[in-house]
Symmetry: C2
Subunit: 246 residues, 2 copies
């Protein structure tokens, strides 16, 4: 098996570290983080905490940690410019023979700002010097709380952001399992929609799972009264099942 366990000089690693618990990183992610020269740690502008950095704390022993501030604005142009600048910084380090690892909560390719960095690097770096390491995404840890299948047989799983409610409503009839990220900000609207489709009892909600503080896991939203909820709230709606045609 051609597994590269050690970060290599001049290489960039986009590393998914899972939901936040230190033991939900893969063995590969740990090995690369432990051996990288420089670790880029994302931090939302206006906050002074990094969930990602906390998760990898057991694996730090003097690597150069560089904080990457990013804005939470929904502005594609300025987001891309921000990550172009980060890419230039990565290139400079890699050209100097350093190994650079960017850590990302969840998976680097699923609703992750790291994807912008990868897009910017793709134009300037040999793809063989870039490695993406997948991580456990929030919907997987959310589902694991309830022990029941996300998909079986011919089920379709649809994963999307909850912010566009028209698209959410359309999705209810286009899949068997609907997973909504960022459900916290529109929770009352979602509950109204679920009531309309008689799906309150088939919907589950998880906030901040495996992040080392009070989390929330509700397996039936029939009598749920929402209060202020985290941005990091995932809803799983079991709309139905498609069994094998036997």
């Amino acid at each position: 098996m051609t597994t590269i366990n050690q970060a290599q000089p001049g290489h960039f690693y986009a590393i998914g570290i899972g939901p936040g618990a230190s033991d939900l990183l893969t063995v590969r992610a740990v090995a690369l983080i432990e051996s990288a020269d420089i670790i880029l740690s994302p931090q939302a502008e206006g906050t002074n905490r990094s969930l990602a950095l906390k998760a990898i704390k057991p694996y730090l022993h003097g690597q150069d940690i560089q904080t990457i501030n990013y804005q939470m604005k929904r502005d594609g142009q300025s987001t891309r410019e921000r990550w172009q600048n980060v890419a230039q910084n990565v290139l400079t380090h890699c050209q100097a023979g350093k190994s650079v690892a960017m850590i990302t909560i969840g998976d680097p390719l699923i609703f992750a700002t790291t994807s912008y960095l990868l897009q910017a690097l793709a134009e300037e770096m040999d793809p063989r010097h870039i490695q993406v390491v997948p991580g456990i995404s929030a919907f997987q840890i959310a589902a694991s709380r309830f022990h029941d299948a996300l998909t079986l047989q011919e089920d379709r799983l649809l994963l999307m952001s909850a912010t566009d409610l028209e698209a959410v409503e359309a999705a209810l009839t286009n899949c068997e399992t609907l997973v909504l990220y960022k459900a916290g900000g529109v929770i009352q609207e979602l509950l109204n929609l679920l009531k309309k489709y008689q799906l309150l009892a088939a919907a589950r909600l998880v906030s901040c799972a495996e992040q080392g503080k009070g989390d929330l896991a509700i397996d039936n939203l029939t009598d749920f009264n929402p209060s202020a909820m985290s941005y990091m709230t995932t809803m799983i709606i079991h709309c139905g099942h498609r069994n094998w045609q036997e």
Copy 2:
């Protein structure tokens, strides 16, 4: 953080071990496998190899390995009966104070037969004695080969089996990223469909990634001539993008 790292007496663990490479298990999965009394290893009937068992080989040191044969038939009734029997076996071991871990390639809740076992156990076991550990699913490792985002901004990701071609065709216009599992058996039909929708250049194909033998990763299907393909073939189709409404 209330992380239980050691398998507990009388507990059952459904453990996702990722695509097949030994270093793509999570740290938690490794700790539970190393400390479990009994490990259930799934094996498709008529074969004599277990990809899952090979993946965890570095973590074995005398645990009791029990092979669970399962049929590859698309027969819901006999599948459920088979797993009811396995559940009885698990219960007997747990009641005797043993810890039991079932290993699953990928994630135990995404198109995994382990979900049937969890369904059968849910009727007879205290849910607090059952733990599901997510694993890296095939679509994540497939996407990681190409370094480009599965979802960004308002993109919808739809994950389904490729076997129902009518449903696949409908899905092309209901998501931005379509992931098809089990694409190997219907590869020519899928290529015809992609051609019809001018999506050949937007489709990628990965077989047997991270399984320690010759894998296949094709980033553009325009000139692709398929030969016999593995059952474990994943197709990623980038149908479009939904950007933020700025």
